[in-house]
């Protein structure tokens, strides 16, 4: 009987969660175990952080935001749309230069100096932290002017990945979480860019004003701090403090 299988909690609540698209896969797993453990329900919406920002400012009923950056949560805090002092880094993204072709990238940036690709996909640096990081790397390696004419920009890291995985761009800077499976790059070839070449891609979570009195919202943020959530996040190629 279903009535007996629901966990016994004093009050189970629901929370709408706005999740950055790049965190889709880990968050689905985390929400599942969160619901099992607490009895609360997390209803997930996936999308661009900029789009969520506009929606939250116009009254969207989200209780928690898991952003793809740090600026958006802190901006919402200072504008009074989020609870001050509740933001924290839940994951730090890693950048990888990736190709679907097996032997194109030999675990270094050397391929960027060759003519072995016509197009390189990078996320729009104005919209996506992964794009900014990628341009940092090119700048540091002094390859920006060489590579620039071949760049195509995705509006977010998901579209950037699509450009590369469909083969329309031969290589691209994508999120490690997109190509990782069980700690290995699942297909093609890639170079995990050393963290010293770009600013850490910190993704912050924040409690939104409309989630202030929602027990499910605060419980979810607490759960994200826990070891079980951290293990899931790490297994998807993010770094956790």
């Amino acid at each position: 009987m279903t009535a007996f299988s629901t966990p016994l909690v004093a009050q189970s609540a629901e929370v709408n969660v706005a999740v950055a698209a790049n965190f889709t896969a880990p968050m689905k797993l985390i929400a599942q175990s969160f619901e099992q453990k607490t009895g609360h329900k997390a209803i997930l919406a996936f999308g661009g952080t900029g789009q969520f920002y506009a929606q939250i400012r116009h009254g969207a009923p989200f209780g928690v935001l898991l952003a793809a950056d740090q600026e958006t949560p802190s901006r919402l805090e200072s504008e009074g749309f989020a609870v001050k002092g509740t933001s924290f880094t839940y994951a730090t993204g890693q950048l990888v230069l990736w190709s679907r072709q097996p032997d194109l990238i030999k675990d270094s940036a050397d391929v960027l100096k060759t003519a072995r690709f016509q197009r390189i996909a990078i996320a729009n640096p104005k919209l996506a932290p992964y794009g900014r990081a990628a341009y940092d790397v090119l700048d540091k390696l002094d390859l920006l002017s060489t590579v620039k004419p071949k760049v195509v920009e995705g509006s977010n890291i998901a579209q950037t990945f699509q450009f590369v995985s469909s083969g329309n761009a031969q290589i691209g800077f994508v999120a490690l979480s997109q190509v990782l499976e069980k700690g290995q790059i699942r297909e093609g070839s890639g170079w995990i860019v050393p963290g010293s070449l770009y600013e850490p891609i910190r993704q912050d979570a924040v409690l939104l004003s409309s989630g202030q009195d929602n027990p499910a919202a605060t419980a979810l943020l607490e759960y994200l701090h826990g070891d079980k959530a951290k293990a899931v996040i790490e297994s998807f190629g993010y770094v956790v403090q």
């Binding site: 900029g50 197009r119 729009n124 104005k126 919209l127 995705g154 509006s155 579209q159 329309n168």
Partner: protein, 230 residues
């Protein structure tokens, strides 16, 4: 000169959009006219499936179109293989790719008004032409085409406007290259995502005014054609 609320990148996008819309419209008139003529005359059993295929872009979400066009243009797609074999390389992320996508997405907006215009003419004028010993091609160019003028005008206006307003397809296959693939609709999307709302307002507002103007002018066209054709 005072400061414009939108930057040079927006003007570049506007220029590119108009260029894309003009070339799409011209190409479509060449493709759509014979296709519409065939659809309006044929008794073939292929008529229904071909008509459905032509209408498909009207009902499919642009992201579906954009996704399949991207796959089609890619190295594993038919079009991609063809263009690579021809030595052109891949069409994705280029003006040619946007043009291909826009032609497919706007095809029903060109074919349908022309087809209805041809159907509205009826058999009579062409039979009269035949009795005057006009050959079919003669009859088409000197009788059918002039009578279908309002339909051709509507097709021209709609194809142009629809290409200007197209978003999903150009976003999916564009790659956001300034001056090559970044058009007005994707520029607005970029402004909104980057939280540059003032610029977004100006460009989006201009789009609303433009589309309103197009629809108004269409209703004028229709009024005139009502006078010409009963």
């Amino acid at each position: 000169m005072h400061d414009w609320p939108i930057g040079p990148e927006a003007w570049q996008a506007i220029g590119l959009t108009l260029q894309l819309a003009a070339m799409t419209t011209l190409t479509l008139l060449v493709i759509a006219t014979p296709l519409a003529w065939w659809l309006s005359q044929t008794q073939s059993r292929w008529r229904a499936p071909i008509a459905a295929l032509v209408t498909l872009p009207l009902v499919l979400p642009p992201t579906v179109l954009g996704f399949y066009i991207l796959v089609l243009l890619g190295p594993q797609g038919w079009v991609g293989m063809l263009t690579e074999w021809l030595g052109i390389g891949l069409l994705s992320f280029s003006f040619g790719g946007l043009l291909t996508g826009s032609i497919i997405a706007s095809l029903p907006f060109a074919v349908q008004p022309i087809q209805y215009a041809f159907e509205a003419i009826g058999k009579r004028p062409l039979e009269v032409a035949a009795t005057l010993r006009a050959r079919p091609l003669d009859a088409f160019f000197n009788v059918a085409l002039p009578l279908a003028r309002p339909g051709l005008l509507t097709a021209t206006v709609l194809s142009f406007a629809h290409t200007v307003g197209e978003f999903g397809v150009v976003l999916m296959i564009g790659g956001n290259i300034p001056g090559q693939t970044r058009v007005v609709s994707t520029q607005i999307f970029g402004y909104v995502e980057a939280m540059e709302y003032t610029a977004a307002h100006w460009l989006a507002g201009a789009m609303v005014v433009f589309s309103f103007g197009v629809l108004i002018s269409l209703s004028f066209l229709k009024k005139r054609s009502d006078r010409v054709m009963p």
